[in-house]
């Protein structure tokens, strides 16, 4: 399979890999390793703003690249009840094949599983 330059760059050198712990950290997990795709996001927020993001992914290069990009790009931005960029926009940005749309939805599920409790906790 061929990958876009952006996909290859974030797949080969993903920043923000790992986990966070401590106050203000919310974790979201989606997917299943046995099914081939598993993603975890740790979001650390303060006053509605993302201070740090880390991710882990057992997944294909597209999923790793998109997760890494989201983690990198969202720091310093306001936490919302949606992905920082829509699934369709991410698909276009990373040239993700149509048959991999389900993997982008897993990324969205993992992100929202962390983001929504974080927003609700903040009240």
């Amino acid at each position: 399979m061929n990958y876009s330059e952006l996909t290859r760059r974030y797949f080969e050198s993903p920043g923000s890999v790992g986990e966070l712990s401590g106050a203000g950290v919310f974790r979201g997990v989606a997917g299943n390793r046995e099914q081939g795709t598993w993603v975890q996001f740790d979001l650390q927020c303060e006053s509605g703003t993302l201070q740090a993001v880390r991710f882990l992914a057992f997944a294909c290069p597209h999923t790793i690249a998109v997760s890494a990009w989201l983690a990198e790009q969202s720091v310093g931005k306001a936490l919302m009840r949606t992905l920082p960029e829509s699934v369709q926009e991410l698909r276009d940005r990373f040239d993700v094949p149509a048959d991999k749309m389900g993997r982008l939805l897993i990324i969205e599920d993992a992100w929202l599983a962390a983001a929504i409790p974080a927003i609700d906790y903040r009240g």
């Binding site: 390793r33 046995e34 081939g36 975890q40």
Partner: protein, 415 residues
């Protein structure tokens, strides 16, 4: 920042996919080029009315003898084809069609090449019955399994010699004896991967039909052969007969119509002659390289070897990496190493190797498996590069997956 990784001097990834295909031996390429450029060797080998045809015919027959000699067959037992896939099709459809009134049952195994499995599936669609035997977890068939699967209406047993994905060597001699004992059951063997890797003896193994390939043994692509036994010995009351697949010219004793490509068959003949003279020193060298590769990969941790260790050729090593996703693994190593996931013939399909699944590997492990094909061009440096690349990339992917070393099993089990 990533450490620098050695790439071969041509700027291409290290080639470790000799089980998929091999580079053409320079002596073979030179001889083929000679024929293509010749003003006297371009004739149609089937033309009997002039010297040009006679010269080409002589070249074809010399090559036939070289192939026959390399596999322990007689010259008149070798039928040229376009490759092992056509040879497999000719053997399976040829027997099925010719003996359709005697019986319509075939025995094969789940780990055969698609060039055997797909013809069998097609025959099922046409009303034949096929028994697909399941090998043990090392990829080996028990001859008793084969014997137990035979029926009154069985006409063919088709089992490969050296498996293309995991390198295990089946006990063909035992299968030959079983088929001969039952009488009227022909044994077809896909031996595309055998020559130059392990001993091969068409007559001695009691094989009736054997598929051969040119490009697996440093010969050209687009040419192969089917050895068709002509012997009649104590264990056989008749010779195997085939219905042809192609019509139009009667070449190859009516079994395979079409003008022969002289340069192709001459290339295959020379490649087989060269392969049959491979020294034991070279076999030892390959075995040492394979051992070095396996030891290096095993030291990464969470790496499983697929297929029998004791009954396999050293030219193929198939391993599964725990805790990494298959597509990412291949994408990570691709800039540095030319290797296969499963069989290259299947690599266009995004599905786990059916051979590894048949051995009991999970879907995930099957997907995260790589086949290394070692050959004449493989060096110690290639092996060390492969180990270094995989050590780094598997570690990196496990870090991304949160499944580093000791946490591999937990991570896999504990999603």
């Amino acid at each position: 920042m990533k450490p620098a990784t050695q790439v071969s001097t041509a700027g291409m990834p290290v080639y470790l996919d000799h089980a998929s295909t091999t580079p053409v031996d320079s002596r073979v390429a030179a001889r083929m080029a000679e024929i293509l450029n010749s003003e006297t060797e371009f004739g149609n080998p089937a033309s009997v009315s002039h010297d040009y045809g006679d010269i080409a015919h002589a070249l074809v027959e010399q090559a036939r003898g070289q192939v026959a000699s390399a596999v322990g067959a007689a010259s008149n037992e070798v039928i040229w084809t376009s490759g092992a896939t056509e040879a497999n099709n000719l053997a399976i459809f040829g027997v099925a069609q010719y003996y359709r009134e005697r019986g319509r049952h075939i025995v094969t195994s789940r780990t055969e090449h698609k060039a055997v499995l797909d013809p069998c599936r097609e025959l099922e669609r046409r009303g034949w019955q096929v028994t697909y035997l399941v090998p043990d977890r090392e990829g080996l068939l028990d001859p008793d399994q084969v014997a137990a699967a035979l029926r009154q209406d069985t006409v063919l047993v088709s089992v490969m010699h050296v498996n293309n994905e995991i390198g295990v060597v089946q006990n063909i001699g035992a299968l030959g004896a079983i088929c001969a004992r039952h009488g009227g059951i022909w044994l077809h063997v896909d031996a595309a991967q055998s020559l130059g890797k392990c001993p091969i003896d068409f007559a001695g193994l009691g094989v009736d039909l054997m598929s051969l390939s040119g490009h697996k043994v440093y010969g050209p692509k687009g040419v192969g052969a089917l050895a068709v036994a002509q012997r009649k010995d104590g264990s056989r009351s008749a010779r195997v007969q085939l219905a042809p697949l192609l019509f139009g010219g009667g070449q190859e004793r009516g079994l395979r119509a079409g003008t022969l490509a002289t340069h192709q068959v001459v290339g295959m003949g020379l490649a087989f002659e060269l392969a049959s003279s491979i020294s034991s020193k070279e076999t030892v060298r390959i075995a040492q390289l394979q051992r070095r590769l396996w030891q290096g990969l095993a030291s990464i941790g969470g790496v499983l070897r697929n297929g029998s260790v004791s009954r396999s050729v050293p030219h193929v090593l198939n391993v599964s990496f725990e805790g990494v996703e298959g597509e990412s693994l291949l994408a990570a190593v691709r800039p540095y190493l030319a290797v296969s996931t499963g069989s290259a013939c299947n690599s266009a399909l995004a599905e786990p190797s059916y051979v590894l699944r048949a051995l009991g590997r999970s879907e995930r492990l099957s997907e995260s498996s790589l086949r290394f094909g070692l050959g004449r061009t493989t060096t110690t440096s290639d092996i060390d590069t492969a180990v270094a690349v995989l050590s780094r990339e598997v570690g990196r992917l496990r870090d991304i997956a949160g499944a580093r070393s000791g946490r591999v099993a937990d991570a896999v089990a504990g999603t």
